[in-house]
Symmetry: C2
Subunit: 189 residues, 2 copies
């Protein structure tokens, strides 16, 4: 299933089999059960994860109100971690848990930086990927502030095609900032 | 004033004077008058801009309601453009105009990519900068969805120290998604 990672990097930087094998040797394969935490608030964040199989949600818990704000989903072909804590070597301020049994490839910050220094192609991949991520997040921010519930729903479908039926609707509603009833109306229409 | 750009890149990638001179030779210096547009909806976006002097706002206009959503300010030491249009060589979907007389350094996508290919240090700078940008945007998204008006205000002060007195309060209120009255209460307290 590692070809998923190769295909993913190659959308930006084409690789020989040797180059990919070298990159892959820096990752650790992990299996995580449904409901288990990949990242837990307060813990150190040692890895950035590339999802090979399964589906996860990342959220911030508001301890005062008990409310959860889901800010990202990830499934096959996506990266997920607490980026700030990972990058600053601090402890997590978010939680990431598994909505299904998951398989991921985990990369430490040391290995991420090592790969970037050793291979321009990898640094370029990181650079373009982060830029795309910024653009898509900016679109989401605009949606949350200016968009109607319908705009947000349509943006979700565009951002996460094929995920709609895998994720409990209450989580999708939380991600979109709409009520469960509004969401039902939207996907029936 | 070009030392601003050198200092900025050097927060990530230290440069010799020769390296910086080479980088700088790829930028074009531009002056833009207060109220003029740097980027206008519907136009091609040829440049990414590094601000040497002045202050700008980037916003999306909702043509149906006439409302404006300000999603970014930029002043000395910040980058600004319509990132999606710049990167995809498409036309702008946002507007960026000058709140003061401005001086910027403009870089085309061709030169940005050329510098990245020729100098690993520049590609690394782009990569880290985009990652930081993603993290700060994610924080803003959380603020807009979960944060109180006070949280948003405090986040603004942290993100744009020294800008509060340079930007008309009605624009700051738009950026924060709060009323002008709420903003007044916050900064008096």
């Amino acid at each position: 299933m590692n070809h998923l990672l190769k295909d993913h990097i190659e959308t930006i930087s084409p690789l020989s089999d040797e180059e990919f094998a070298y990159i892959l040797s820096h990752f650790v394969f992990k299996k995580i059960k449904k409901h288990a935490f990949l990242v837990q608030e307060g813990d150190p964040v040692k890895y950035e994860y590339f999802v090979l199989k399964g589906c996860l949600k990342a959220y911030v818990a508001d301890n005062a109100t008990g409310k959860e704000f889901i800010f990202q989903f990830a499934a096959e072909d996506w990266w997920i971690t607490d980026r700030e804590a990972f990058f600053k070597r601090s402890t997590a301020t978010v939680n990431i848990d598994c909505l299904e049994d998951c398989e991921v490839l985990a990369l430490t910050l040391e290995n991420r930086e090592k790969l970037g220094v050793e291979m321009w192609k990898y640094e370029h991949f990181l650079s373009v990927k982060a830029y795309w991520g910024y653009i898509s997040l900016q679109k989401r921010l605009q949606m949350m502030i200016m968009g109607s519930a319908k705009d947000r729903y349509e943006n979700f479908i565009a951002q996460y095609p094929n995920l709609f039926n895998r994720i409990p609707k209450s989580f999708i509603a939380s991600y979109l900032g709409v009520s469960r009833e509004t969401l039902s109306r939207l996907y029936k229409s």
